[in-house]
Symmetry: C2
Subunit: 236 residues, 2 copies
DNA sequence: TCAAAAGTGTTCAAAATACACCCATGT
DNA sequence: ACATGGGTGTATTTTGAACACTTTTGA
């Protein structure tokens, strides 16, 4: 078997979320067609076939890096999609023919997800990603393949998780205000909370710790800044 | 493409749980080697390669039926396992060579799970399942492939789910006592609960409804029987 | 009459919810 | 001075946890 032989039947797709202080966003690529200058105006999640000799987790990390430049992202598996017709829409087939050796092969795909703070990373799209863009989750257009379903599933997964582990610090700056954190929760859960109750609940955890610093240059009472204390968190 | 062509790279495995009024059990098969009379004493989860033209969900249902005779089981996807070495242990390879066209092919597997009341189903093992047996989860031996990992993940999944939706009525007779239900919860969550608090919490849901019947022939005060009211449940 | 499991209430602590006003800053 | 979002406390309800005795039946 040649090194880095491709498995034609299994792919991974990555659903990377970020937060712009108001809304959840997801990372999409604009597909360009292989070596030709053909361009495909349909957006998609970053994803591609796996290699024969890598784990699924590694494949997801590699594919994400190849397409978007994001490195060392902790990805978590969400769900596997295997409808036999999931890549057979005409438009998708046209595009696959331009980049794949076996565009008609049955492909099942394993979806992965992660949360990142987009300010901390540069996007350097390459391979068949002509571009990589952050799109508000609420504005996501019709995507290629079954990627709208995949996004939906990743969102459900995210909502579940935030109840169990208080996530989301990955999405915020190192130092953040409680209002920012609250907006993040509201964006993920698509809900509204009472400010006082939210603050009380967060501070009761003791791993969101106040810094002795305040916002500067805002035209209102400056908010106190907090940070997430990883070691305190892991103690519990 | 021939009808029912096999996809050599993707399989499904089924983790079917039942309950014997004391403990959780899981359904395992004893593998027999293809057309030969060779026998493999290692147990495994029921699973096999998928067909090119079926969904993953359908494949799981079909494979389960082929191997164990269980029909119309509602299966739910759990997780996908894709370590490149997951089927390459010598013993597993020996066995695969006796039943597969490409025993060395990379296979990723999608795990499915379900809960059933074993009293309601007959096991009629066939294909390469020489036998199908219920084994107490706590007594599960070393299984073939990575099936111990898969079982572990399915158990985690089950624990998560029972917090969200009160499951488990599938595992009990139509008419059951609250003590049986409590034992079931204790088995799944590997915990103990206070009887009074448990009963209160269950009855507060209103979809576990009392029948005007009691146990008969028990050498103690007979327990009242209850049933799960599906339509009341779905109203909430 | 005994053994075995069923059934039942109360108290306390913790957590969730609802709700309204003053404060610090920049413009 | 005013507009903006920051910050705070209390009362009520709901939920979860701990805990012990009496009842009914068959053997």
């Amino acid at each position: 078997m040649p090194q880095h032989a491709i498995n034609p039947n299994v792919s991974v797709d990555c659903v990377i979320f970020s937060f712009n202080n108001q809304e959840l966003e997801v990372l999409l690529i604009e597909r360009s067609a292989g070596n030709t200058d053909k361009v495909d105006e349909i957006k998609a999640l970053p994803g591609n076939l796996i290699y024969e000799d890598e784990t699924l987790d590694c494949a997801a990390e590699r594919v994400l890096t190849e397409l978007t430049g994001l490195e060392n992202i902790f990805l978590e598996q969400v769900y596997t999609f295997g409808d036999p017709d999931r890549i057979s829409k005409k438009h998708d087939q046209d595009w696959l023919r331009s980049i794949r050796a076996h565009p008609e092969a049955r492909v099942i795909t394993v979806a992965y997800t992660s949360l990142i703070n987009k300010e901390r990373f540069n996007l350097t799209p390459s391979s068949f990603a002509r571009n990589a863009v952050w799109v508000k989750v609420k504005d996501v257009p019709q995507l290629g393949f079954d990627h709208n379903d995949i996004l939906e599933k990743a969102l459900d997964h995210l909502k579940q998780k935030i109840y169990i582990k208080p996530l989301g610090y990955e999405l915020l700056p190192d130092r953040f205000t409680l209002a920012q954190l609250q907006k993040l929760y509201e964006a993920i859960l698509d809900d509204k909370f009472d400010k006082r109750n939210f603050r009380r609940k967060i501070l009761r955890t003791y791993f969101i710790v106040p810094l002795n610093e305040k916002q500067q240059g805002v035209a209102h009472k400056p908010a106190g800044l907090y940070r997430f204390d990883k070691s305190l968190f892991h103690q519990m």
